[in-house]
Symmetry: D2
Subunit: 383 residues, 4 copies
């Protein structure tokens, strides 16, 4: 059996990674991983090197145009689909494995559909408002042959869209697998590695903020407001760069301004996974609009301040405070997350719909037990 997985961006890879490890641990299976999109871009930190270091057999596919425009991103999908077809024809995989709602999910699902190769899709059925990701994710659901949603609610949504029940498997969020398995690191070790200055007895902020496709022109200003709030409070802050969506370049510009001005604000293109997980465990709160605030934070009992429209109306737990791009609101929410005993207690006991950190095993078991036949390949809507 041969599995061909694909990844186009760091954040996606980290969710995929425990599944890939699980596939690799099985017998009589060959795994190859196409790395494409931002992974091969120097501006985005050449993150394919992380994947190589993790020991996977990668196939490089350059696809990302050097452009922060929507058209650059869109044309890149065509480039990706051309190369992807060549690779799939050559590799003849039994399964295509893809995750989420980015360019590579729609291109892979389309290629699998046309080439009659089954597509397993992880993290479908989710709902996020104010973003084209929703359209893409649901379109991928209508193309994919096997669904691995993370929560019961997402699984229900996939069924309502007309997918046959035997194709839908709720498995939890695989990124919790890698959090679960990550060893604890000391403050000293982290500080040395990153050149920052976090301490056990002083709260620090972890900040991740991405642009919205519907609010591109405001991206820089949104980052500025957030950083003004942070800079006025003065807590040690660790930022990771936004993704490569339109607007991202401008946000990085603003980040660099604040980094030069304030010693306690630190920014990184990318943070190694082991360090990042330990920052999540040790941070007083996660600030911004990262999906990890909804998907991973409840497992870690980490308070979250979510700024703006990204992640709104998405399934979440009680550990999260939603605020708008208003400096005072942001400041107040940060202080609540750090100082308010009651809210902190709510977070400690929050519910977690995203599973127990054993998703990868469920996915790979199902994948290996699914016979590849006409029933799998010929999709039928249930109504």
């Amino acid at each position: 059996m041969k599995v061909l997985a694909i990844t186009g961006i760091r954040s996606e890879y980290f969710i995929l990674q425990p599944i890939l490890e699980e596939v690799q641990s099985r017998e009589n299976v060959e795994l190859k991983l196409i790395v494409t999109g931002t992974h091969l871009s120097a501006v985005h930190g050449n993150t394919y090197k992380i994947i190589e270091n993790d020991g996977f057999n990668i196939i490089k596919l350059e696809s990302l145009l050097s452009s922060d425009s929507l058209e650059g991103r869109c044309k890149s999908i065509g480039i990706q689909m051309m190369g992807l077809t060549d690779i799939v024809v050559r590799e003849k995989p039994d399964w295509l494995l893809v995750l989420g709602d980015r360019e590579e999910s729609i291109s892979t699902a389309t290629v699998g559909t046309y080439l009659n190769i089954p597509v397993a899709h992880v993290c479908g059925g989710d709902r996020v408002v104010g973003n084209i990701d929703d359209s893409i994710r649901h379109a991928v659901t209508k193309l994919a042959h096997l669904h691995f949603p993370t929560t019961e609610e997402n699984g229900e949504r996939i069924l309502k869209m007309g997918e046959e029940p035997w194709r839908v498997n709720v498995v939890g969020n695989p990124s919790l697998d890698s959090i679960r398995k990550q060893p604890d690191l000391s403050y000293e070790y982290i500080n040395n590695k990153l050149g920052i200055n976090i301490k056990e007895d002083e709260p620090f902020i972890l900040l991740i903020k991405h642009p919205l496709s519907s609010e591109i022109s405001e991206a820089a200003e949104q980052m500025r407001v957030t950083l003004e709030a942070v800079s006025e409070l003065g807590y040690e802050t660790v930022i990771t760069y936004p993704n490569s969506d339109a607007g991202g370049f401008e946000m990085i510009g603003v980040i660099n301004e604040f980094v030069q001005k304030y010693d306690f604000i630190n920014a990184f293109k990318t943070i190694p996974k082991d360090l990042f997980t330990n920052l999540q465990r040790k941070a007083a709160l996660l600030l911004g609009n990262s999906s990890s605030g909804l998907l991973e934070a409840p497992f870690l009992k980490l308070p979250v301040v979510n700024v703006g429209n990204r992640q709104k109306q998405r399934q979440h737990s009680e550990n999260i405070i939603f605020v708008t791009h208003d400096k005072e609101q942001i400041k107040k929410a940060i202080e609540t997350a750090i100082r308010d005993e009651e809210f902190i207690s709510v977070c400690q006991n929050c519910s977690n719909p995203y599973g127990d950190g054993y998703s990868a095993k469920r996915i790979v078991d199902t994948l290996f037990n699914t016979e590849i036949n006409q029933r799998l390949l010929n999709k039928q809507i249930t109504y």
Copy 2:
């Protein structure tokens, strides 16, 4: 207002054509039509010339690889998407208009989604079994911003998939518009134009048969069985070539064999629309697996013998007999359609869920009355 439509194949163009005519008839609107896919292929009859003759402002986009393999078709989508992005960026249309479930529908819907340009999709919500077209069509529904299904049943299906009700407009099948408007032609005129020999008092067969993506290796044999039935019965028969899907080349090979052997079997790469509509009106039956047997035949009260799995489980009227690829079954069904008074009477009175031949007006009215704003562009699933 500027509308950018796209078409990749003759059959699709003929459904789109009345809508394009209606758009063109309105004031203060600019219409351009991207012609791509098989339209620019000599092997497929360079059908872009038909479109130029119809007086539309076309933009050529070469995309179809010279290959009858699945991978050629798949890679062509990537090529199409790259060129499409360049064109959309340059044309800056207010609307993208696309139809059906072929390559250009998924590429256009993806491009519209990423470029924040609303996509109007005609003929969504349909259900056909045993074909990847279903997956593509439903994926396009999840991407498109405005839906124009042909029947109430298809409209219902779109709603169930979670589309917001205000986006869904049941309009009937636009191909009935052009059938309605097509003037009657005499037998003599048709015979002269095509070099065939049909007569008012002798039944003749119209045969259109396409390959199925899930039964490619059987395509040639399926065509052979059908033509053996036809050749044994000896009715005058008019064939149009299959589309360019994998398997099509082999089917054409078989057709040519029979054409050389039997005088009463005639085949054409393509038949001009005016002649074709009159053949539909005058034929004793439509044989094969063309969608026009379901979509157009009830409007014309034309009996249909549908061979094989294509079109099965799809919404249809009482004028259709379904048979398998069995020579005797096919012969018997043809004779029923030609000789059985009762069945012929059922056909004369069959129901027609596909509308009244005034779809184009409904589509264009809605298109022009829809404000292009964030509500239109930000899709929300209803559950």
Copy 3:
């Protein structure tokens, strides 16, 4: 050592084939062959299967658009170059090996130049008038790192263009290697295999005619005039289809007309190499404008009637009569080639600048003895 060769069309492959065999026969070398262009096109006979049967390790790269237009051919080069880059990055060859003056020669030479991988070019320095091939061939010479011209004259031309002398190796025409090695076949065997009717004591014509890029609109008429001459004379005639250049489709249409009308005219999409070589050996003459009339016929002492501007001003021997597209001229030249004792004697004793049928060994020896270093990669013009 790893050699990555590329081929895009049947005619080119047959010249390349003895070199590939020689490479494969050496120790400690890995050979892969990219098959692209017309090789993967059903319309052109899916000739990649011949190559697979010959036992080479192939990598498929779909690139040819289904179009007989110049723009289709041109856009295909871009598609080819994208895929080629992906493959070269993945394969990391020590050498790229390419031949002649078609799309794959310029795309491969460009890719090798930008990726700092040495390109060995076979058949450079040649001169043919009235064709864009000349421009492409000379441009490839300015990009390639090692040159294997077939004749002294061609080698001289490369030196004049400013190439360093140590890069230029005159080796003869490799297609003579495979002619030399091909076993003799009987008339009966050939007739049985091809369904034709050639006889030892009756002269027959071998006809190969390609379109010219500068005379596309006349291609069909040129073929018609040639076939009218042939049909009036009545000799058994064996035709192979023209290549896929613009104009080729129309020529095939004309060929099919004559095949249906005259029993003694036979046409084939492609003829297996062993049969073709024996047809070359046994034919009374080669008619048309194939380069084999110049490159291979002198080795075989085969008379040639070259019709039109293709091959004009190209280095040739005494066995060739040049005529224009005039029916009477063509008829007269055919009769001369078949009946004129003096001309036949000239052909028997004609000179042969294209070598002795041992080119492959020379090429591969040189390739293996050339060190890959900065001197090889940094080209310097000699003036």
Copy 4:
């Protein structure tokens, strides 16, 4: 008459610009300009905006992959060629106009060759050692239909390569046209615009340094050595960023380090042309390896210190000192250029093979007087 020009990078555009202005000033001519490559990349300063501001009718063509690898650059050519073909088919220009030796020159020349549209090539025949640019430039010469070399020596080289004499027109360097026409600006104006601090009575350095394709891995270190020399001398220094070739990203990293450390070192992604020309006029010397040191500096009598292998063996005047990447050598040469009366006097009186600043008129006159016919399109090598 319709001219379609193409540009892919700022430096190239500035040479092309006076020609475009001259074309635009003529009657009965339509000019469009394809902007591609780095012009559309945010990382490279979105320089297409400069071109829009200059009032040209542009067509955007995204082609540059976000990669600093050789393969990214190479694959980008394929992307460019695909889009270019689409555009040329749509625009149907009478002439393609391209300049120099970068990706767009080879892609445009190839497209023009295959589409039978004449290509006018500016700046051919030049010779630079240690760079793939030479191979590309000479290959473009073998494809182009009309040549506009800048110097007599370059024209001679084109003739030796076998180009027909009537195709070769020595016109001088067009970038001198725009230098000639640029108005003088005051120190105050320049300082205000750029936020720098240059003074009439204090020498300052203009520094431009690009990576070499054959020395990519040393690019960062080469920049570091150069900047160490500069920082130890302490003269006000104005740097413009290197181009997007492989190695460029690393050089920018080093530049940013020095900018943060030393107040007198200033760096800019791009400097408006009017300011840049005045910096060239006022600087004490040009440092680095920019081609403007050879091509423009003699016209301006500007001393040059050229560091490393780029530009070596290229035709140059007496105003240039060649040094290796050795800090002490660089420091000494800078001091010579600033302080050595004798050398400064040599520079004041240096020869200038690159013309008088009236090249554009010559090019456009020739272009308009050249009939487009078979003689122009059918290239013949002269030997």
